[in-house]
Subunit: 647 residues, 2 copies
């Protein structure tokens, strides 16, 4: 029987929530599991798939169900078990597939010439009207269990094997997410490291593993170095089975500047390692789906892979269910950034349907935010909320200005996607909030937005001022003034995290300070390269020597050396330096305006509007050409499969 | 380490929801799984258990987690793995147990002298304030996996082995929920029957099984007869491993009337078979948790086992989560009966805390019901709602009277348990509804409530009139009038289902027609006994011979021969004939008023107010004595374990 154009089917969102649970529970620190500390949304256990067919000839089909499921196939009222062919005579028929599964997502795959699990199925959960069934492009084979994310594998042999400290150290050419294969006697403990120093520190290293006695494989973990103590070279044969999701990189950046080329390549490698089932923060740590990190990753991903499905999986995994009582990752600003993320995704791919599908979560989350406003209309954290914004020395007395900026921007997004009947309320709330921000946070004397007004300290940090620039809260004149009073003012403490540095560099780009941004690329990212980085780090202090770079959060090897938010040069170079910029949501119209003073030659490709745009600069001549469509398998699984058979 | 007074712990409701999923997915019909067709509520996947201790001496404890869980024990900020002893020095400490589990309820058991999983733990789900952790009295051993309901077992040898139809039939003394053990060659298909006729019909019988090749056991199923075709006596050794939850029967009914004694005993046996993890409708079919069935079972259980925990498990399994968008079992009247069930449970055990814990579900469910009112204030079904009331020939044009009666009664319950600020709204809604019922449904000429008023047909059935009596909607005069115009009026179609017959007999008892009820006991339940019943059936038509009794729902063996709602004689005999009746919620004060004209001797015990009340009648003398407390292990798991250690 045919299985082309057939996929495993489930209720929309359940697959993402299920795998997000597994992802967020996968962190291990020194042998101890560390599940993410926020509300974890579950999946539906009982659904029914429904469809009607009008057949011109007899047909036969077989319904496969995920392991552990119970249920039956109902054809015109007769019941048939899963896994057996069901004959269906010509004529009009109704097919219902009833399925319940306690431990994983109730999913089905239907093999058949005509009746098969393609894009025409509806699914119902006995709670709401039926909706189109969802699927994932990686699960298009009845033998591929959708409760287990099956990774693509690639074997890496070590690039060096070295006797050291009484044991053996294996080194790989780059960092991997790999199941280490250890062939030899027994099941030795293997100490893993993103750095050589980490692997050689059996006490301090973040994680370790041991091979399964039968398969000889260790669990999938982040590693570049592996150390086994008390053994000699030759005792064990070790190689790394890199396990990844095959998300093709569309972008290419080649210029006459080798350092920039290398920054782009390492950023692309870093970002690809951090993206699989979801967009993660890092691959050693946390391996969690964070809303703030995901928001920034959208901007990178738009120019690197243009994989819309990856983004949707991530944003669905972060989406709160009704009733919404807590914030995304428990962080108030991550709730607001999730709302901005929905818009960013829709704009990247010109597809507002995603916002419509997320609307119940958006409305519920905004209702929670609005319910937390004080008497002046400012959002404040509740007892167990985390008001983060950044690791910075804010004046945290009373409501924080940066948080209000995010709320105002989120209200704009809500108004944009709201049904007509609900729009005005969001617009009014935003207008009132902007007025209150101006009244309470704008300090004319300092020419800056202050952190907080209740303490009277009038403390200025960069964060709120950067948001005012990015979100258009400050007008052009004020933006220019903020450059002097804040961005170029050394008395205002520097941003210390790459997370917020992304927003600052974006603001500088917007205002045209490209030389400053280019210098930052060379010093910060170029600096990591000069220390031998093969992936970009969670944080980097140019003033410290290599051996002091690994510590973070009070843990000697706590720093992640492969962190998604460090991939921002991809976005900055593509958007502002090569100057490829969409003019309409989705990018069907776009502008290419390279900053030619930075380059003698360029040969770049970026995804835009579903196509590859090739930009070449040579001998002062600029060429822009359409290099063809992004191949279907590189596209999102946005569109349902063929609907062309009779229904 | 000590484990006394320690239990497996979880977030309240999750254990019940998880096992309810398994229960409602356990129905099998002719080899095909049939999961219940309603919204199935899931469980939390990520929680944290929290407690502080002040220790006067050093202590050590070990946290066990359910298989498949990940997490850690945090003691004053340090992380420790599950399964390893954690030393804790004297002093004040905070212990947090973080746990995530995708496929089953995240549960922990803590072994230790002082720090252990007793009643003092709080649990948090990152969505609401921490609440006391929940547990179940059957899971008080670290080796007992709470994701698997471990049944008590009792071996039944067959009472006959008979060569018939070319095969062998094994018969057991009564119906069982058993794993059949089949020792012999191969794994033959075994045809099961609640009746001999069913087991001997390999095509028509409702279910079959085959032994596991290693354990030789078949899955747990309802059976009294087992048939293996094409074999000879001696080829297989068959016995039944009855698997049940040990819920001790408190009640005893012995009188000089052998028929009544037998009715009570068979009813008790029937009901006990139907009660385990939950109160089910039947043991062959549906094996589902239905709200209407559960409501009636509460009245029986109150007099038979007084096991409050069984009731709470059942009512929690039926409770809807927010946002409430669908009805209990999809049935509007079952939603309303669930609300009445909460009150019935609280009254049985004098414990209003259960209503408080259910209040979010109650409020959400009532809000849904009130949202479905038409312009006159009457509740009507939506497109996918099932307005059931009973299998009867109602005039279903427009809103149905019986449904309004249930809504009015439910509004009384809501007003009773509502917080002060919400009470008046329910009271007003009820008053308005009662007025509208009187206006639109009371037919003075017929002296009865009519089914519906929109058609103009003025059709009278018994159902609404019975509810009017039971819920006090009709005053005493009208109740007396309804006896003549409805209950004793042969022109009004008779109730045909035992489900609604329960309500009718209760109404007749309330109004004092005990002779009529006694006659019904002897004809209906006595009639089943005369046909050889060893358990009471889902339905019984005295006019039909035995061989025509097994068909139901168009299925030749579709009828359940062991059905909980057939156990109502327990309640009727205890409450109205032996006359044991609580005077206050919980039964700390009660009345004993036997209808002595029906008995020469009585020796009965019923649970009341947490104690055993023994009622004896001999030689015209009535004795009532307190026969001691219901033993602790027979009690509910209502109270938390000891709190006496320092916290």
């Amino acid at each position: 029987m045919r299985t082309e154009n057939a996929h495993w089917l489930w209720y929309p969102g359940d697959f993402e929530r299920y795998h997000a649970l597994k992802q967020n529970f996968s962190r291990v620190e020194r042998g101890v599991g560390w599940p993410a500390f926020w509300k974890s949304e579950g999946f539906r256990q009982r659904v029914v798939f429904r469809r009607s067919y009008t057949l011109t000839a007899d047909a036969v089909f077989t319904v496969h169900a995920v392991t552990g499921a119970v249920g039956y196939v109902q054809l015109d009222g007769g019941k048939h078990p899963f896994g057996s062919p069901v004959p269906c005579p010509a004529g009009t028929h109704r097919v219902d597939v009833h399925i319940g599964c306690v431990s994983c997502v109730p999913s089905i795959f239907i093999e058949g010439d005509i009746i098969r699990s393609d894009g025409g199925w509806l699914v119902e959960d006995y709670d709401a009207d039926p909706v189109p069934a969802a699927y994932n492009r990686y699960f298009a084979d009845p033998g591929r269990d959708p409760s287990d994310w099956a990774y693509t594998e690639r074997v890496y042999e070590p690039v060096s094997v070295e006797a050291v400290n009484g044991g053996v150290l294996w080194s790989f050419e780059t960092e991997l997410t790999a199941a280490l294969e250890v062939v030899g006697d027994g099941t030795p403990t293997v100490y893993l490291g993103e750095s050589r120093a980490e692997a050689l520190d059996p006490v301090g290293c973040y994680d370790r593993c041991a091979p399964d006695p039968v398969t000889r494989r260790c669990p999938r973990q982040a590693l570049r170095y592996a150390f086994i103590p008390d053994c000699a070279v030759g005792d064990y044969a070790v190689r790394a089975i890199h396990q990844y999701v095959d998300i093709p990189v569309i972008a290419q950046f080649e210029s006459d500047d080798a350092e920039l080329n290398r920054i782009f390549a390492v950023a692309a490698h870093t970002f690809s390692l951090c993206c699989g089932a979801f967009m993660l923060d890092g691959i050693k740590r946390d391996k969690w789906i964070w809303g703030g990190d995901a928001y920034q990753s959208l901007f990178v991903n738009r120019y690197l892979t243009a994989d819309a499905a990856l983004e949707r999986r991530t944003l669905i995994a972060l989406s709160p269910s009704e009733p919404v009582r807590t914030h995304v990752n428990t962080i108030v600003d991550y709730s607001l950034l999730w709302l901005l993320s929905v818009e960013a995704h829709c704009d990247s791919y010109g597809d507002a349907s995603f916002a419509r599908s997320m609307w119940p979560s958006m409305r519920g989350l905004m209702a929670l935010c609005l319910s937390q406003r004080d008497e002046r209309g400012f959002i404040v954290g509740r007892e167990r909320d985390w008001v983060f914004v950044d690791w910075a020395d804010f004046d945290r007395d009373g409501p924080l200005c940066a948080e209000q900026m995010l709320l105002a921007e989120s209200l704009r997004v809500m108004a944009r996607f709201a049904p007509d009947s609900e729009r005005t309320a969001y617009e009014r709330a935003r207008a009132a909030l902007l007025t209150a921000i101006e009244t309470h946070y704008w300090d004319e004397e300092k020419g800056a937005y202050i952190d907080a007004f209740t303490s009277g300290r009038r403390n200025v940090t960069r964060h709120a001022n950067i948001f005012a620039i990015l979100f258009g809260i400050a007008d052009d004149d004020r933006c220019r003034r903020l450059v002097d009073t804040v961005l170029h003012n050394d008395d205002v403490p520097a941003i210390t995290t790459p997370y917020f540095r992304f927003f600052e560099l974006e603001a500088l780009c917007r205002l045209g300070y490209l030389d400053e941004v280019m210098a930052a690329l060379r010093s910060y990212w170029g600096g990591m390269l000069r220390l031998g980085a093969v992936t970009f780090w969670e944080e980097y202090d140019p003033a410290k020597p290599l051996e002091e770079q690994y510590e973070m959060y009070g843990d000697p090897f706590g720093k992640s050396l492969c962190h998604a938010w460090a991939a921002s040069p991809i976005y900055l170079l593509a958007r502002y330096f090569v100057g490829v910029r969409p003019l309409v949501p989705g990018g069907a119209e776009y502008e290419v305006k390279p900053q030619t003073r930075f380059f003698r030659t360029l040969d770049c490709v970026f995804p835009m509007g579903g196509r590859r745009v090739r930009v070449r600069l040579r001998d002062g001549a600029l060429t822009v050409e359409d290099a063809g469509p992004i191949h279907a398998t590189e596209q999102s699984d946005l569109r349902p499969a063929s609907h062309d058979e009779a229904r």
